[in-house]
């Protein structure tokens, strides 16, 4: 019994729930779906002004793409990050927000969390498409790498879904979870090489002695799965080169661990959801 086999039988439910989220989100707004692009563009502008114009964070030009645009370099890591946070935040609200439905109708409960992941994935895909188009215009040779980008988008989606399944259950039992996670995400964001290159961390790490046993600061820093994802997406889209095997393995491994764990917890607790809510 797993969340995934259960969902195979109710694909249409997931599709319809996803459609409900996507359609319902920007209903009655003049710009409609365009709003989903407004957020990333706004953060891009803010971060670029602060971290490129004012603070002047060093970032290497793309290797071998020779690109040298901070805003694009930033977005290659920022878009995956905001997708991840959107999935987890949405997933945590999916069960609590649909309390009424869960208490009155039987259907695979995971469909709610998965639909929320898919609706975020839909938005993210549009963002990535726009980013890819811009990268293409400024001269990156991104096209050969697109298949791998799509593969890793799927891997990140799986990772995010796993975390989301886990936290959606946690949030039913402890409503503090969502507030706690909001703070965690702030810290996590700055511990991930999005606004700065990982080479800065490596430099600092080289100047220090190993922290715990033989492990350096960089080793510990790299335990963050989102660091690996940021690196992989930046390599593929901005640098246009094959990411390091270690980073790719870390992405896949974290996705597998998160989805297995999330699935196990969700299956164990989903039967009692109607009571717990």
């Amino acid at each position: 019994m797993s969340v995934f086999s259960e969902l195979r039988d109710s694909r249409e439910l997931v599709v319809n729930l996803t459609r409900r989220e996507v359609k319902g989100k920007y209903k009655r707004t003049a710009l409609g779906q365009l709003w989903s692009l407004a957020n990333p563009i706004a953060s891009m502008l803010v971060y670029t002004v602060v971290f490129s114009v004012i603070i002047k964070v060093p970032h290497e030009p793309g290797d071998p793409s020779r690109l040298n645009v901070f805003a694009l370099w930033l977005m290659c890591a920022l878009l995956p990050w905001s997708f991840f946070t959107n999935v987890v935040t949405g997933g945590m609200g999916a069960l609590v927000g649909n309390e009424n439905l869960i208490k009155k109708v039987y259907f695979p409960r995971a469909a709610l969390v998965v639909a929320s992941t898919f609706s975020a994935l839909f938005t993210w895909s549009i963002e990535m498409l726009v980013l890819a188009a811009v990268l293409l215009v400024v001269g990156a040779s991104i096209l050969p790498w697109l298949p791998l980008v799509i593969v890793f988008m799927a891997v990140l989606a799986l990772f995010a879904l796993g975390v989301s399944l886990l936290l959606s259950i946690a949030n039913v039992y402890f409503r503090d979870t969502q507030h706690f996670v909001a703070i965690l995400f702030q810290i996590w964001f700055y511990m991930t090489p999005i606004l700065y290159p990982i080479s800065l961390v490596a430099e600092r790490s080289d100047k220090m002695s190993p922290m715990i046993g033989p492990f350096t600061l960089l080793d510990i820093y790299r335990l963050n799965p989102m660091a690996a994802f940021a690196e992989v997406f930046r390599n593929l889209m901005y640098d246009n080169r094959m990411p390091a095997t270690g980073a790719m393995v870390a992405c896949v491994a974290s996705a597998v661990v998160a989805s297995v764990l999330g699935n196990a917890v969700f299956v164990r607790h989903s039967k009692r959801l109607a009571e717990a809510l």
Binding site: N16, L17, G24, K27, L101, K104, V105, Y106, Y173
Partner: protein
């Protein structure tokens, strides 16, 4: 292949009543242990076989666990012990329209709600017109449902749910939705369901509406199965129990009340004597045989007539008829004379009762103690329960001006 649609085997369901629920991390950390709670068994060892192709009612007082059982059947709740096996597709009507998204159009919501209830897209498309037709909101199907009136909202939700075409339909008190016309539609749909060999399980408080609907019933009391069997018996006994008082069996009949006086026999005699059929409009004498084991001062003896489907038609008693009794003791026969029986041809049952002076304390009540039928007497009657003597005549010439819409 068994003939039961749902098998409930030794099902128990436990709820936790939290004194202080650890719904925040702080609470959990501060107390440093699991939250304290009391266990409450909402259902205990329920065994039921719900036959295929019939309608089955679950009755019981509030909090007796009948809705919990229904939710267990619907897989919304999971029993802690025992198992429930449903053979066939189950659809539950616990609350209609619960999956609607207010901003989406009626059309989108039909698809959404139907897929929540487990329908496939092709199936929904095929049934779409039928659903919209049933709901009667064609005109507004492309409007966001938040603009619907609450009646339209409920009707659309109900239309979706009932068109899922389940083999087993679970219904919880939702029959009372919509206007009279819509209720008729629903009743018709349920009848079709039964004819098609599907199973309907209903939880309701409305015993009269259940009486006409269901074949079998289970009475659940405080989480335990009290009685299961054919609907008429179970429903009557449940209804009696809600009136309070002790139930006693005397000479094969169920008597309610404190029992100082018992109604032992009731005869209905027509104007033309015993054994001759009673005709509508005839005079009738009802003879009540009473036995008082101890003297009762100023009792009120009454009788009521019920139609064969259980509809309460009319009643009379000694106090209201202005012939109060001073006392009852020993064996007594009381006669109640009805000068003209205002009933149409059909079968009727007598309910006899004895109460105290204030009619609040029930001393004895027997349902269905006697039956009688009313013949047509060669006259054609226009239906209904009550005979309404009437005369028709022409009051004058019809006005010459053309009238539109005149009845």
């Amino acid at each position: 292949m068994t003939s039961s649609a749902v098998t409930v085997q030794g099902v128990s369901k436990r709820f936790r009543i939290y004194h202080e629920r650890n719904q925040s991390l702080k609470a959990a950390v501060m107390r440093g242990r699991r939250s304290s709670f009391e266990e409450f068994w909402a259902l205990r060892d329920i065994d039921l076989e719900i036959p295929r192709g019939g309608s089955f009612a679950l009755v019981g007082d509030n909090g007796s666990g009948k809705s919990t059982l229904l939710k267990c059947m619907a897989k919304i709740l999971f029993p802690d012990e025992g198992r429930i096996e449903a053979r066939g597709r189950v659809a539950a009507l616990l609350e209609v329209g619960s999956g609607f998204h207010p901003e989406l159009s009626g059309r989108d919501n039909v698809f959404l709600n139907a897929s929540i209830l487990g329908m496939k897209k092709a199936e929904i498309e095929r049934k779409f017109d039928e659903i919209v037709d049933f709901s009667g909101v064609e005109q507004f199907i492309d409007q966001p449902v938040k603009n619907y009136s609450s009646g339209m909202y409920v009707r659309l939700g109900f239309a979706v749910a009932i068109n899922v075409d389940p083999e087993i339909l679970l219904v919880d008190e939702v029959l009372a939705v919509g206007d009279a016309a819509f209720q008729d539609k629903c009743a018709e749909k349920f009848a079709t369901f039964k004819r098609e060999g599907r199973t309907v399980v209903v939880v309701s408080h409305s015993i009269p509406s259940l009486r006409t609907m269901v074949d079998q019933a289970a009475w659940i009391e405080k989480g335990r199965l009290h009685e299961v069997g054919s609907a008429s018996g179970v429903l009557e006994r449940y209804l009696d129990s809600t009136h309070g008082g002790q139930i006693a069996r005397v000479a094969g009949r169920e008597h309610l009340g404190t029992g100082e006086v018992r109604v032992t026999k009731v005869d209905v005699v027509g104007a033309n004597g015993d054994g001759v059929p009673i005709c509508a409009g005839d005079g009738v004498t009802v003879r009540l045989h009473l036995t008082a084991t101890e003297p009762i001062a100023r009792p009120v003896v009454g009788l009521a007539i019920e139609a064969s489907d259980g509809t309460y038609l009319c009643a009379t008693n000694t106090r209201d008829a202005g012939s109060g009794l001073a006392a009852l003791d020993g064996d007594v026969v009381l006669e109640c004379t009805i000068p003209s029986l205002p009933l149409h041809p059909g079968n009727y049952a007598i309910v006899a009762s004895v109460t105290d002076e204030t009619t609040t304390q029930l001393i004895d009540q027997v349902r269905d103690i006697s039956r009688f039928s009313v013949d047509s007497g060669g006259v054609v009657w226009s239906g209904g329960y009550l005979a309404m003597p009437s005369h028709w005549s022409e009051s004058g010439p019809v006005p010459a001006a053309p009238r539109r819409g005149a009845a």
